[in-house]
Subunit: 363 residues, 2 copies
Amino acid sequence: MENLSFAMNGGEGPRSYALNSSFQRSAFEAQKRLIDEAISENLDPTMTFTSSSSKDLITIADLGCSTGPNTFIAMHSITEAIKNHYRRHKLLPAHQTLEFQVFFNDQVSNDFNTLFKNLPPNRSYFACGVPGSFRGRLFPNQSLHFVHSASTLHWLSRVPKDIVDRSSSAWNKGRIHHTDAPKEVGEAYEAQFKEDLENFLNARAEEVVGNGLMALQIPAAPDVVADDNKEIDPGRVFELLGSSLIDMARVGIMTEEKVDSFNLPIFYSPVKGVKAILEENKYFSVEKMEPLNLETFYAAPNVYTFVSLYRVVMEDLIKQHFGGAIVDELFDRFTQKVVEFPDIMNLRKLKIVMLFVLLKRKL
Amino acid sequence: MENLSFAMNGGEGPRSYALNSSFQRSAFEAQKRLIDEAISENLDPTMTFTSSSSKDLITIADLGCSTGPNTFIAMHSITEAIKNHYRRHKLLPAHQTLEFQVFFNDQVSNDFNTLFKNLPPNRSYFACGVPGSFRGRLFPNQSLHFVHSASTLHWLSRVPKDIVDRSSSAWNKGRIHHTDAPKEVGEAYEAQFKEDLENFLNARAEEVVGNGLMALQIPAAPDVVADDNKEIDPGRVFELLGSSLIDMARVGIMTEEKVDSFNLPIFYSPVKGVKAILEENKYFSVEKMEPLNLETFYAAPNVYTFVSLYRVVMEDLIKQHFGGAIVDELFDRFTQKVVEFPDIMNLRKLKIVMLFVLLKRKL
């Protein structure tokens, strides 16, 4: 099966990622203190290239950057934190200055034209766009000092192949995700997540210099979700979307087979699963791993905003499978279901764990 | 006056740069031997970063790359020439391999989405896009080993301001270029060209490592054009376009003022002018400077192809000034004039000099 390639909605219209990424931004706000700490506790100034006698170069990559503005806010915070760290500890000789080169990476289908048009004019870094999947190599050997990737690693590189195989015990009939599915379906998702995260780590291990840092924000699930109406599994959102599709198949808008062959390539791994994969990797040490508190930063103001947040990230994927004609009706039906189940918009109940992870490349 | 920012036509339609850049490609074919020679005679393997014990990194930038495919052909040739050079002279220890990172640069308004989509899947380099004007800094200090820029430096960063100033002796009334204009107009173009080329060289001087190379293809004019029907000044093409605009103003499609305030920011410098600017620059030595023989590589097959070659590079600029509504009629009228003066399509007569220049960054 071919690897998936899709992207957040481009442009700057009402359904663009640029205007519908406040949830992702709230997670960045929540991690800001942790990034500052990570830099001041872990940044090794001897790892940077000294390209000449007068300049010291720090290279940063944002993997899965989409079109902005979140990536610009993140890159600004990181470069400022590094500058402050150097200044505070007088890490640069008086005649030297720091230069930054920032690599903005996303899938080839990402709208890089919009990203480039919106680059902050007063940025203090040289900007580059890097198209391609971050599951594989994107950069030269030992060429990066700091890697950031936020809300990207829960996307799988492909739908696990067994779950669309009718002859497999993991065939995921009548659902678009593993929530409430037989355990084989969840296991197939989990195996794919593990393979993808390992590929990500192994590619970065080649690219990040010794002592280089990776700050990752990984959407995950609690190890246990209380089975009462006080806690809601994050997969419930996909279940509502899936049941909207099934309703549409029932009234003949599409075939049941079409829905059966569609599965979301998203996995909110239990926290302990993420931890195990990271600790098993021999190239990076886990310097920090803690959940961000999103509640204080984000609450969807209303159902339309909530639905938009999901639409902007899923629309491209849905169009690729079902065509564009069904999208409006699908999200109308999904909106209805959210209205009937408003608790799902409440982050105190919907148990998405946004894990902040700081990794350091071993020497 | 603000600097101009415009780009070649994007996408892949019938009027895209991607499908209308055969002239520019012919120039690259003609320079291929010169690039190979430049690399085998001048490439200093000690200038590259040794990022680790096992990899040697060579960074290449194509400045003004547009959307491809010419830039991909050029980057392939350059990386192959470098690989062959290393292999032939056994410049790499047995356990080392070469890595390439290629930076594709053009204006922010360039269609990078199309560029990225068409990147050769089997390329042997890591690819980045770098948006912004090459008159200023784009890359960190001493971070480039090889710079290529083809058919870009005859574009000025702006229209010389005196030529649109009614009170100036350089006011360019009734023309869109300096061809056949009073000498003050030509001098204003020349001064802008000099400033722009110097800015380009000074920015690159910061970015290119010692002994690093720049291979430039600069469209220029002969120092003297014979004043008979055997030779045609390259500015004649713009004169035909300008007279088409004036005809349209005469029949009331636009005002005369609108045409007077439009001038092409293009200058085919006489060869000796280019030579003087390059030799004056204290950061680069001129290793080679010779005209490419385009005649053997390119002849416009017919008038429509010839007009398309100009349309694709000028359309954005014309739309910005006149709006999009006049473009079709303008190029219809221009086509008529080319039909009446077919010698202009003959490269034996139209005296564009495509200068190949090899510069080396002094240590």
